[in-house]
């Protein structure tokens, strides 16, 4: 075999995706899972209707806006707070306990209170942001905590201040891990946003899924799911390639 490893891997990846799509199609075609599982081709046909695709895109726009806002807020807070904790370690125990507490309270429990307090749309954003925050905060702290001692010594010996080192070294050295956390947080943001739409009864794709389910509009349900999945995948891919880029630049 003269195929190099990369080509082989790509082949297997493509093969895996084909098998996945093929089995979904087969299960649908032969009604193996009952009427709630249509053949994929039927769903695609359904989506291709002009009116349907417009509605779906509109809903995707709404949901992705919530996802992106939540993601931005969660990531920013996580990086800022983990940086502060890293720079001022006295606050670490307190911050850690608070973060663990917030994370330990199940979203299902806060959601109703939040919805009453701030309304559906905003509570969705907050819930998704909390998910994102936790994942990125943990990744960022552990990245910042795993600096190379020789490099740290270097900055001390040449008289760098804490802040000089932080911006010239710590953040950069931890960037691949932070970006890895940001990648892991993408599904969290999506799940958070969709769940919140279910709770609040407002919004885009999540709400669409909910009403499609209640009205047994199977093709619509599957279409909405497909759009959520595609958006999540694309988002994941973008952050993932940022991570790969940082890893290549930083971790030589």
């Amino acid at each position: 075999m003269s195929l190099d490893i990369k080509t082989t891997q790509r082949f297997y990846a493509a093969f895996g995706i084909l098998v996945f799509i093929g089995s979904i199609q087969l299960v649908g075609t032969f009604q193996l899972a009952g009427p709630a599982w249509p053949p994929l081709s039927t769903v695609v046909e359904y989506i291709c209707q002009r009116r349907v695709v417009q509605t779906l895109l509109l809903a995707t726009g709404k949901t992705s806006k919530v996802i992106l806002y939540a993601y931005a807020v969660g990531v920013t807070l996580a990086i800022v707070i983990s940086s502060l904790v890293h720079l001022f370690p006295i606050y670490r125990p307190g911050a850690d306990r608070f973060v663990t507490f917030v994370n330990a309270v199940p979203a299902v429990a806060i959601a109703p209170i939040l919805i009453i307090l701030v309304g559906g749309q905003l509570s969705g954003l907050i819930l998704a942001a909390i998910y994102v925050f936790f994942v990125v905060y943990m990744a960022s702290l552990s990245g910042l905590g795993r600096l190379n001692t020789a490099h740290v010594d270097l900055f001390q010996v040449y008289g760098a201040s804490k802040y000089q080192r932080f911006f010239a070294y710590d953040v950069l050295y931890a960037a691949p891990m932070i970006l890895n956390g940001m990648k892991q947080a993408v599904p969290a943001a999506v799940v958070g946003a969709v769940l919140a739409e279910w709770f609040s009864g407002q919004g885009g794709l999540g709400l669409m899924m909910l009403s499609a389910m209640r009205n047994f509009q199977i093709p619509l349900l599957w279409s909405a799911m497909l759009f959520v999945a595609c958006f999540a995948l694309a988002f994941y891919g973008v952050v993932g390639s940022l991570e790969a880029y940082a890893r290549k630049r930083i971790m030589l």
């Binding site: 010996v157 040449y158 760098a160 000089q164 070294y169 030589l252």
Partner: protein, 272 residues
């Protein structure tokens, strides 16, 4: 006796004249389960301004640790380190310290040139590109200025780290086996370069080395350490006039001193 044993000899400088003063230094690292291992025990050493001291001793005897104590990267468990009559941290704070680490510690995302110029940035001074280029040329890296550390050899990284240590004209230079990964020819060349820099600027220098020749060629004084725990075994004053040329290495006296030192190191070590 070739070399003067100078247990007392080191007291010939007055306190105000010392650049580095180690007073009853002991150092132990706490291992797992609270058991601590003593790396250095009862080290007394005074280094006068402009002096070139070589530290030599078996692997693991605490040479790097001693250097780290001087650089204020570690705090001794016992005893006191004074640099120019001040706390050891002050020198780094004033950007007056130059260190070439055993493992070069270059930042992988910066080019060799940027790495070497980093001390300027950390001292909040504009990077003097002329000086960067001059020092890069001095260590033979002129053609690799724009390469990333991952693209050059281990010996080149070490040389970059030496260039970086000299960048701000330090008052104290600490070199931890800086020539370890170099071939004999390059090593000799760099020894000569280092000597001329040192003669020019009279930087107080502490060099850790496994090379007996190198220590004798460069140093005013050689501190021989023994291991477990690390103690000063012997202090040897190197009698040769400066500037020393490479022909010195072929003289009988040089060989005599080399043999003496090698023998001193032999029972406990694998120095080659």
């Amino acid at each position: 006796m070739i070399a003067a044993k100078s247990v007392e000899g080191s007291t010939r400088y007055q306190a105000s004249e010392t650049a580095v003063k180690l007073n009853g230094i002991s150092m132990s690292y706490r291992g797992k389960g609270g058991a601590s291992s003593t790396v250095l025990a009862g080290i007394d050493l005074e280094i006068s301004p402009g002096e070139f001291v070589a530290l030599i001793g078996p692997s693991g005897c605490g040479k790097s640790t001693l250097l780290k104590l001087i650089a204020a990267l570690e705090i001794p468990t016992q005893g006191r380190v004074t640099i120019c009559a001040e706390e050891p941290r002050e020198l780094a704070r004033k950007h007056r310290l130059g260190v070439a680490f055993q493992d070069h510690a270059l930042l992988p995302w910066l080019s060799i040139k940027e790495n070497v110029g980093l001390p300027f940035k950390l001292a909040r001074r504009p990077v003097d590109n002329e000086r960067v280029e001059k020092l890069l040329a001095l260590v033979g890296l002129a053609h690799y200025a724009n390469a990333k550390p991952s693209q050059v050899s281990g010996g080149m990284k070490q040389r970059a780290s030496i260039a970086r240590s000299l960048m701000l004209n330090p008052s104290l230079l600490l070199l931890d086996e800086p020539f370890g990964a170099l071939d004999a020819v390059t090593r000799k060349q760099l020894n000569i370069e280092l000597q001329s820099i040192w003669t020019e600027q009279k930087i107080t220098t502490v060099l850790v080395t496994h090379g007996v020749d190198e220590a004798i060629f460069l140093a005013d004084r050689i501190i021989v350490l023994e291991a477990n725990p690390g103690r000063i075994r012997e202090v040897i004053n190197v009698p040769f006039e400066r500037p020393r040329s490479s022909s010195l290495m072929r003289t009988a006296e040089f060989h005599k001193l080399t043999d003496y030192l090698t023998e001193l190191l032999e029972p406990a070590t694998n120095v080659t």
